[in-house]
Symmetry: C2
Subunit: 291 residues, 2 copies
């Protein structure tokens, strides 16, 4: 049989096939309200969730996403979903992880490729709430709850409980995820399990926790932070973005040294702030990460 004959006679339906979806983790960092005109407005990390209109998990909140159609690539499907929710293009988009447990979805076997998108809140303001479907931004915070380390024959098992909290003006959601890290011999394995989830559909709490961890790691060794910034920004704003994602305060002097080569000065200044005006910067596209 020639290759051509083979392909003509190939019957793809012989094998059972799963459904494949993309799940979108759309993050932004937005300003909070601040009463004192002199103080800077604090920033918060936010994620976009949609309210499920249908079974299963009807009424609960889920990651935006949908089935991948036969004539689009995974990336194209992710882009399509992203447009649908934010109508912004040229956005940071990165494949995160593909979730393939057997009973993730009560309907049928579903394998989900998750994508993380980062958008800057300024270009977003437009579409924020006026969405047709029930998409809403939630502030997102995670909290270390407790840790448990056990010795085994040839290594250790560390269990860590992390709580996620999501909230906006109308709603508050939460979940607890247990992360089990198994060191056996020279290899390490990590597993995630949802311990408790409150109005968050499917295994999406687990996916969000994973994404948050990845975001936190990547902001330290890549330039993704700039994807969260508007065209022009001050170094203090940039620092705030790092701080809200890392969940800790940074020293301004050291921070400025670290980002010095990644940004370019402009000769614009922020006005009417009630204190010394700060210079606006932009991303330096000639900056190269590697040596």
């Amino acid at each position: 049989m020639t290759e051509k004959q083979f392909l003509q006679s190939y019957d793809a339906s012989r094998f059972a096939r799963p459904s494949v979806t993309v799940d979108m983790l759309i993050f932004t960092v937005a300003d909070e309200q601040e009463a004192n005109y002199r103080k800077l407005s604090p920033k918060s990390l936010q994620i976009l969730l949609v309210k499920r209109a249908d079974h299963p998990f009807m009424g609960q909140w889920a990651l935006p996403g949908g089935f991948v159609s036969p004539e689009e690539s995974l990336e194209e499907a992710a882009m399509r979903e992203l447009q649908m929710e934010t109508n912004i293009d040229n956005i940071y988009l990165e494949q995160l992880y593909t979730w393939g447990d057997v009973n993730r979805d009560p309907r049928t076997r579903v394998i989900s490729a998750s994508y993380m998108a980062l958008v800057d809140s300024e270009s977003l303001e437009v579409k924020a709430g006026e969405d047709a479907d029930d998409a809403r931004w939630f502030r997102l915070e995670d909290k270390w709850l407790r840790e448990n380390k056990i010795a085994t024959q040839d290594g250790t098992i560390t269990e860590k409980w992390v709580q996620l909290r999501f909230w906006n003006e109308a709603e508050e959601l939460s979940a607890t995820v247990k992360i089990t890290r198994t060191v056996a011999g020279r290899t390490v394995r990590e597993e995630r399990e949802i311990v408790e989830t409150n109005h968050i559909a499917f295994d999406h709490a687990k996916i969000i926790q994973y994404a948050l961890e990845r975001l936190r790691n990547k902001i330290e060794y890549t330039d993704i932070a700039f994807a969260l910034m508007p065209e022009l920004f001050t170094l203090t704003e940039l620092q705030q973005v790092y701080e809200v994602i890392l969940g800790k305060e940074l020293l301004a002097a050291a921070f400025r040294r670290k980002v010095a080569d990644k940004v370019m000065e402009t000769n614009h200044y922020r006005k009417h702030a009630g204190h010394r005006p700060s210079k606006y910067y932009r991303f330096n596209p000639d900056w190269t990460d590697n040596a």
Copy 2:
């Protein structure tokens, strides 16, 4: 309609579904032969490929892998394939990336989750060639060919050509992959394209190039190198593993300082080496990566 009724009446076949496979990138670092009894044997990075017995790409070399069955998770499928090829368990296994272009496979729409496995060559020696199917280890090297950087409206496009070479006693394969890195505004995108491929099936050259890059990155900031080591090893052997993966020489003094906390001394020494014997070490499971 209740959720229960909904689920009972749910018809999964309404949507066209792709086939899903796992592709395994099984790496090891093995000793080369060395004539001079006094000299250390150099090491080489190797990858396991299988010769395709059927159409399409019959006779060409491909990554081990196969279809994911409905009653196993992605990880379980990856484990199963790994066992099939190496019959070693408790191995380092990590999901790499999921490839979802529309025409990756001439038979039908196939989405492939790729997994990287690291095995130590010592426990492997057993299964090396006696495999039933046509699986073979290939030495693997990549070579930077050329780079091309173009300015655009709001950023740059960098194209990089990388050549991969695979060889063993019987066979030699090669491929060229073009990596396009687009910096536009504050976002970066990376794409990979196979420019030329020689007896390597599907888009697997691209996947291997990606895996190699990931391996190179991860060895710098994680402890995956130990997954490539036998139970006991000398610090020079460990350094050789770093060197062969990073493709550059390291200074012994600095290297030893860096890994000092990650290993534990034993009181065994390598014997009969024609020079000063080196101490054997083992991985220190109490070492924690993070602070």
